[in-house]
Amino acid sequence: MKAILKKEFRENIMKFIVETALLSGISATLIPLGFKLLVDIEKENPLISSRYGPLLAQLRDLNVFVRSQWFGKNLLELAILFAVINGIGIVAGEYERKTAIFLFSRPVSRKSVFFGKIVVAILYTLIPIIISTFFILPSVKTVPQSLDMPIFFKLLIQALFASTLTVVIAGIASIIVNDRVKGGLIILSCIVGDIILASVLKWNFINYSLLFTGDFVKTLLISSVGTVLALGLSFHLIEKKEF
């Protein structure tokens, strides 16, 4: 298990650095660029201001802005994307590179190989989310408002739980589909399709995006139970997998 963890940390380090840098870059500039645009738009474009006045007024609340633009959009989109990228490589990556034959013929249980790999995939998804979300905090000082920290942390926790579930779901796809690109596209299409369908039909109970921003207790429960069930299913599937 220790050997698998070491190998996985090393193998995926570049992905981790790129993901952290990209997310952090977006989060660090979110308030200085995005929030400032909202403040200035009224002065620069009176037509927009007259048409979207109430909406803009709402968004000029820093807490609403961070919730909708970071947790509900930028982080949501990229966290799902990175979770799928990290999860889909767990088994499909080994299969594609033909290293699966070496790895899965060692005297190590398949479950522990899979578990070691998924732990690293989850950590490499969650750490960039934590680092980048904290990058928002210094830039809050540039605006004359303060963040509601309990809500901020609740949203961060929701994002972490939802992203963990996404990695594990992608892990299942990586066992079933031997091709990373195909598997990744299938999972992303399912998630995007679900979000669009749920939004159009107003079926919030199946809306994947609400796992990031919905009711705190309910979403945490869904994400946790979903993660446990998905892990159980992956352990079952990995034992049956043929290489």
Binding site: S105, S109, E242
Partner: protein
């Protein structure tokens, strides 16, 4: 005593039957060659033994223990060199050996030193820079690192030049003599099987055609040239018929005494009895099972 016993192994890929009730045994201390043409089912068999294929019919008993999905501890006693595989390209030779050592719980420093004294692989270089033959040798290092009781080699000389191939055989002979390791190795090269095996299992279309000691196989097999005006002898074993100048030439493989008796009983007159080479025996079996 058998170290490995496979009974009625059956495996299909869609409509294609890769293995069809394939049964064989590997006695402890033997060097058993699994011989067969490409696509005969050799690799599938070796993958089943190594736990890489989980859905199949039949049973595999190894070290006296039946294998099943989730059972992996028996693999501590197996060294496996797969036919087609890759190692982590970004690792150096030393790193993959250390990684394998951590996974198997055996560092095998001594055996790696021995292997290095013969093959001298550039272990400080990244695997990405290795040739195909070097990769194959490295995988042999990994298989032997744990000092296995059973060494399973799938086309081990594929990609090796003749000099390294010869060194490899010498090393294997020496290794077997020292550690009494049992070897099961697959190949489609007859001379390889004949050179290093003491037993042969011939597989074709997923079925066992032959399982015998090489020496007794050679002893018992002969080409009979028998003449008869007409008729069709029911000969045990495998027979090919050819008409030549009014003679019926029969190529019969099997117990020579029995074949001779049956030929006489059927009214054939045995003109010649010629011992067959290993290659001729295998060709005859292949033809008989077209």
């Amino acid at each position: 005593m058998n170290i490995l016993k496979c009974e009625n192994l059956t495996k299909s890929y869609g409509n294609v039957k890769a293995l069809n009730e394939f049964s064989f045994t590997v006695p402890r201390g033997s060097i058993t060659g699994l011989l067969g043409p490409n696509g005969a089912g050799k690799t599938t068999t070796l993958k089943i033994i190594n736990g890489l294929i989980t859905k199949y019919g039949g049973e595999v008993e190894i070290f006296g223990e039946k294998i099943s999905p989730g059972n992996f501890s028996y693999r501590r006693k197996i060294g496996f060199v797969p036919e087609e595989f890759s190692l982590y390209e970004y690792m150096k030779g030393t790193e993959i050996i250390a990684f394998n050592g951590e996974l198997t719980g055996k560092s095998g420093e001594k055996i790696i030193e021995n292997l290095q004294s013969v093959f001298n692989l550039p272990l400080e270089r990244k695997i990405a820079t290795y040739s195909r033959g070097m990769r194959k040798l490295l995988s042999l290092y990994l298989a032997l690192q744990t000092n296995p009781e059973l060494l399973v080699l799938d086309e081990p000389t594929d990609g090796l030049d003749p000099i390294v191939r010869s060194k490899l055989f010498d090393f294997i002979f020496d290794y077997v003599a020292r550690f009494k390791t049992t070897i099961l190795f697959s190949s489609h090269i007859l001379s390889e099987i004949e050179r290093i095996s003491d037993r042969v299992i011939f597989i074709k279309n997923g079925r066992r055609i032959l399982e015998e000691d090489i020496d007794s196989l050679k002893e018992n097999s002969a080409l009979f040239v028998a003449k008869a005006k007409s008729g069709n002898a029911k000969i045990p074993g495998f027979v090919t018929y050819e008409e030549k100048d009014g003679f019926m030439e029969i190529r019969a493989i099997g117990n020579a005494k029995e074949v001779e008796e049956k030929l006489r009983d059927a009214g054939f007159e045995v003109v010649k009895k010629i011992p067959l080479t290993f290659e001729e025996i295998v060709v005859s079996y292949t033809e008989a099972y077209k």
